[in-house]
């Protein structure tokens, strides 16, 4: 118990250091851009490949409810609201944690094990600034971008399921799409993914830089990153939903 609290405290200190270094100059802009580009391309396909089938599932199940009330025209508003508010932010972040976060943890863990991080420090270069902050910033920026891609994937999935497979009218799907979606939903999704991206970045870099004990240590770091990042942001998600959309209505 005591040990957990002290780990939590050290994580807090680590987060503080990373956050402080990400708002003060100088920034390793080249490195950040490289990580951002790599992260975007590595995560794009997995994100699309999960949000699209879930959009299809939502249209499939939604049609069954709306068929009961003869209100099929409400399907596309439901799909777009659910996608923008919940589905895409959460799913895109889960995939970013699984793909991007865990690969960052693996890279940093391997560097820690082979004492590259210590070597950087010996050369009087701050390892946090050159190795951690660029990765943190890359996740922070990539997460909202991937969320947008995921939202489009979800809406497209709903279209495929409802119109192409179930034979609803295409015009009704597109015309009603924005019936209930407001700009605030889009911004809400952005705020959420921004917070989730910060959580993923901090958790991944923390477990990566704390890896010890050879190859098993790297495996454990990757494992812990995915589990802790996903659990934390699903819990945070509820509070963000209540705060962002509970008030707006």
């Amino acid at each position: 118990m005591l040990q957990r609290l002290s780990t939590l405290g050290r994580f807090g200190a680590f987060s503080g250091q990373v956050l402080w270094r990400s708002v003060t100059p100088y920034w390793e802009l080249d490195s950040t851009a490289t990580h951002l580009w790599a992260l975007w391309w590595r995560c794009l396909l997995p994100v699309l490949a999960t949000t699209t089938p879930l959009g299809m599932v939502m249209a499939l199940q939604g049609l069954q409810i709306f068929d009961l009330y003869g209100a099929q025209r409400l399907l596309s508003p439901l799909v777009s609201v659910a996608t923008f508010r919940e589905l895409s932010p959460v799913l895109a972040s889960v995939l970013v944690a699984a793909q991007g976060g865990s690969s960052f943890a693996a890279e940093l863990g391997a560097m820690k094990i082979s004492e590259e991080l210590d070597a950087t420090e010996v050369m009087a270069i701050d390892p946090l600034r050159v190795h951690v902050v660029p990765r943190f910033l890359a996740v922070l920026i990539a997460c909202p971008m991937l969320n947008l891609a995921g939202s489009l994937g979800g809406i497209f999935g709903g279209f495929v399921s409802a119109v192409v497979l179930k034979g609803e009218t295409a015009g009704i799907y597109w015309a009603n799409l924005w019936l209930m979606t407001r700009t605030s939903d889009l911004f809400g999704g952005f705020v959420k993914t921004f917070v989730f991206g910060a959580i993923i970045g901090l958790v991944a870099c923390w477990f990566g830089t704390q890896a010890k004990g050879g190859a098993p240590g790297v495996g454990r770091a990757v494992n812990d990153t995915v589990v802790y990042a996903c659990t934390t942001f699903i819990v945070v998600n509820y509070f963000l939903t209540s705060a962002l959309f509970g008030a707006i209505g």
Partner: protein
């Protein structure tokens, strides 16, 4: 182009892996004792995060359902929405992704470490079939626990949604429960268990495959673990749509 070829060769290697795994499992006596060990470990390890995640997904479903249906003047439909979305879709896919994140990554990293430390070769030298020794108990173990975990997740999700509906949204608790009971059929729970079975097979085989064919070195273990969780999450999401289409479509 080379990407496509390497993808195809990975697929072929996976097919080979599954075929030799099936042959090994059928020609050897089932490892009863190790199966129960694995089942216990997978179940106990995944249960805490699963409970946390299910509770918060349940609360979230209630809040979002309330928001979405308020605009249609159907606040009273929250129970229907939560039961339908929660039992049919959210619980199985969520359990699958959390178990992939927790137990799947662990399988991948354990087996990958054994591979790079040449323990798997050592098993072969001792005339023990490594697939039978390592993969069979994990598959049987995860098959034993995953349907049970799904049911636990359904129960905690509904309970959390019920508490939120009464405490945060001010709805009538009895009415909520009546709606849940009206919309849910017994087969929905059965279908949830069927989905869980399929997801269990996918998660276990994919994770063990990536661990078994891990590249060298600590970075290789990280990479294997990373690929395991991403590929199993994506495949589960796609299969989830196909199964929903077959079972409910």
């Amino acid at each position: 182009m080379s990407g496509v070829i390497s993808l195809l060769s990975q697929l072929g290697a996976f097919g080979n892996f599954v075929a030799s795994f099936v042959r090994a499992s059928l020609t050897h006596p089932p490892p009863v004792e190790r199966t129960f060990e694995e089942a216990y470990r997978i179940g106990v390890q995944s249960l805490p995060i699963l409970l946390i995640v299910s509770v918060f997904v349940g609360t979230n479903l209630a809040v979002q359902g309330h928001n979405a249906f308020e605009q249609l003047g159907g606040q009273s439909m929250v129970g229907t929405f939560v039961a339908l979305a929660g039992i049919r879709e959210m619980a199985p896919i969520m359990v699958a992704s959390m178990v992939a994140a927790k137990a799947g990554t662990e399988m991948a990293s354990q087996i990958a470490v054994m591979r790079i430390q040449e323990q798997i070769d050592a098993l072969e030298v001792m005339a023990i079939n490594p697939l039978w020794f390592l993969v069979t108990p994990r598959l049987l173990g995860i098959l034993l626990v995953l349907p049970g975990l799904t049911m636990i997740s359904v129960a905690s999700l509904l309970f959390a949604a019920w508490v939120v509906a009464m405490a945060q949204l001010g709805l009538n608790g009895t009415e909520f429960l009546v709606q849940c009971a009206e919309i849910t059929r017994g087969v929905d729970l059965l279908f949830g268990a069927v989905k869980a079975f399929v997801f269990a097979i996918i998660i276990c085989l994919v994770s063990c495959f990536f661990g078994y064919t891990s590249p060298k070195g600590p970075a290789g273990v990280g990479k294997a673990t990373n690929s395991a969780v991403v590929v199993s999450a994506v495949v589960c999401a796609i299969l989830n749509y196909l199964m929903s289409e077959m079972l409910y479509g």
